[in-house]
């Protein structure tokens, strides 16, 4: 009796990475266009994947069409490598491509992420793929998508400042937490996906390439290395990141990193660094084991590494942590 393996079709190289060659070519061409037009949303033909829309299919298609046998892939979901969603995607990618996986930000060549950018600075040659639930930053001010396209064409973004005005009048501060809109390369308004404000500056003049992809909306866009990315703000009231000062990580004792808040029964809160790969390395280091902890976007004192980019870090974001991570299938 021949075995099942003998009867089955031998593996074929041309379907490497699950997607067929046409799908990958489509995606790579769109990515090249996106890189040539920083921040511009490029439509693409989105393929069906054995994962439901809303669970990272946009990011996954980009990752699958970029990954090669020599890549090392890291997958995170709201900072965590070990969440069910991240673990599923990682397993799928590694089975379909055979690539090595890691939780170490510095060791990865390709990082797919939902809702966070790692704390450790990404370097030249690294690629960050962000899953995007809603690529259109103008949706709030212009629900008509074809009018929104016209506004992008005209770089007519003034209404966003009306939104900022309203936030200041009503709440005394900018209350938009995640997906804080940015202007890329002095041209396109872009939604950086639902990363917290804390991560938004990390896109500015970054050494790495960021690709953002929305599977449901079938659009992808990019921030090439060393590109200007400025959050929208007033000339006299500045964008600010969430205030993390005074918070100490319950596992590592570190401060001035983006923290998850863990409310306790007695009404107080404990904090834990949201980037689990970073925690892992800090813990190793504290145990005296070999660990290379990379340089971070924010230093121990909470200073951002591009001095002067953040005009102020305290103040009207006093009620911080208004980035409340949402659970479930909103990222695509």
């Amino acid at each position: 009796m021949p075995s099942l393996a003998q009867l089955a079709q031998p593996n074929q190289d041309y379907s490497y990475g699950f997607l067929d060659a046409f799908a990958k070519r489509e995606l790579r061409r769109r990515m090249l266009k996106a890189i040539a037009l920083p921040g511009y949303q490029v439509p693409y033909a989105s393929r069906e994947l054995p994962i439901a829309r809303g669970w990272g299919t946009g990011g996954l298609q980009v990752t699958l069409s970029l990954a090669g046998p020599n890549d090392t892939v890291k997958v995170i979901d709201q900072g965590a490598d070990d969440s069910v969603n991240a673990a599923n995607l990682r397993r799928f990618i590694s089975r379909m491509t055979g690539v090595a996986t890691t939780t170490d930000t510095n060791a990865a060549s390709l990082i797919q992420s939902r809702h966070r950018i790692p704390e450790e600075r990404l370097n030249e040659g690294q690629v960050l793929v962000l899953q995007v639930p809603d690529p259109e930053p103008l949706r709030g001010v212009q629900p008509d998508i074809s009018r929104a396209r016209q506004m992008h064409a005209d770089a007519d973004y003034a209404l966003m400042w009306l939104g900022l005005y309203e936030q200041l009048v009503r709440y005394g501060r900018f209350v938009q937490g995640a997906s804080y809109p940015v202007i890329v390369h002095q041209r396109y308004l872009m939604s950086p996906s639902p990363i917290p404000r804390w991560d938004t500056p990390s896109l500015h003049q970054a050494a790495h390439l960021t690709l953002l992809s929305a599977g449901r909306e079938k659009r992808l866009y990019a921030v090439p290395p060393y590109t200007d990315v400025y959050p929208i703000e007033f000339a006299d009231v500045y964008f600010q990141v969430e205030d993390q000062s005074g918070r100490v990580c319950m596992i590592t004792g570190a401060g001035n990193k983006f923290m998850d808040e863990l409310p306790q029964t007695d009404g107080t809160s404990l904090y834990r660094i949201s980037d689990t790969g970073y925690i892992e390395k800090l813990v190793k280091q504290q145990r005296g084991e070999a660990a290379h902890v990379g340089e971070t976007y924010y230093d121990e004192a909470g200073q951002f590494y591009h001095a002067g980019f953040l005009k102020s870090t305290q103040g009207n974001s006093a009620r911080s942590a208004d980035f409340s991570p949402r659970v479930g299938q909103d990222a695509d």
Binding site: Q150, D154, D156, A158, L159, W161, L162, L164, Y165, E166, L168, V169, R170, F234, A235, D236, V237
Partner: protein, 264 residues
């Protein structure tokens, strides 16, 4: 009302519209209408409902293109340009910087989910202002000029009375000191007493600023109060025009005679 000594007008009109025609399918809403308005002057447009008055204002506000005809506005950089020939972005710039409009229905002119001051600030934001303190100040100033109660400047328009909503619209329209102000039935639908107060504000504005104004109303009292000259429209066409007193006191065209006798 302060009257200027009589003088020969040698200046170019601020606004000149020539042979405007606008069709909606088989309806000719505006049929070969020409008009001029000088700085500091107010032109009234009267006519029964459906005679094309609002459509004329929408054309002059560059909201939609005319099927035929031209509009020129004597403002720096655009004096000789047919504004309908401008591309979308430039047209909007002219509209934002040089033209203000108040609609009869506040829902058309205001964002109901944006504060009143925000509605006014929007004009400045669209013109490129990016200082929050400046926006606040300008919104406050403009609302004060339109005699809006400042303690309510951050209320949503939906919570305001009709008269106050019209004042917000007016503040928004004049925030950038436009050369041309378009008023489409600005007091229709208001209580008579409120109407009188809003008219007072409009008259004060006329005295204080040299804005060229066009006011549309089917209320001849409003026209008499505000307009220097009047134009009578019927079925998209101009049937009579002249000085307000002359046309309203001694109407020549049978249609105008009907209008005047029905309303006065």
């Amino acid at each position: 009302m302060q009257t200027l000594p009589p003088q020969l007008i040698t200046a170019r009109p601020l606004l000149a519209a020539r042979n405007l025609t606008r069709r909606y399918g088989s309806i000719v809403a505006v049929d070969d209408v020409s008009l001029v308005v000088y700085s500091g002057e107010t032109l009234g447009i009267v006519g029964e409902s459906g005679s094309g008055k609002s459509t004329v204002l929408r054309l002059l506000n560059l909201e939609e293109p005319a099927d035929e005809g031209q509009v020129t506005l004597n403002v720096p950089g655009y004096g000789d340009t047919n504004l309908f020939s401008l591309e979308r972005f430039q047209r909007r710039q002219v509209q934002i910087r040089h033209i203000g409009i108040v609609y009869q229905n506040p829902h058309q002119g205001l964002r109901m989910r944006v504060t009143s001051s925000g509605n006014v600030a929007e004009r400045l934001i669209l013109a490129g202002e990016r200082r929050y303190a400046t926006l606040r100040e300008a919104a406050r100033d403009s609302l004060a000029v339109s005699e809006f109660p400042l303690e309510r400047m951050d209320d949503l328009p939906a919570k305001l009375s009709g008269g106050m909503q019209q004042r917000v619209q007016l503040a928004k329209a004049i925030a950038l000191k436009p050369a041309l102000l378009l008023l489409d039935e600005p007091t229709t639908g208001l209580d008579v007493s409120v109407q009188a107060l809003v008219l007072d504000t409009l008259m004060r504005l006329q005295r204080e600023r040299q804005i060229a104004t066009i006011v549309v109303s089917h209320d001849l009292g409003v026209i008499r109060t505000l307009a220097d000259r009047v134009m009578v429209m019927r079925r998209g066409r101009v049937v009579e025009q002249g000085l307000t007193d002359q046309v309203l006191d001694d109407p020549q065209h049978p249609y105008t005679q009907q209008l005047v006798h029905a309303k006065l």
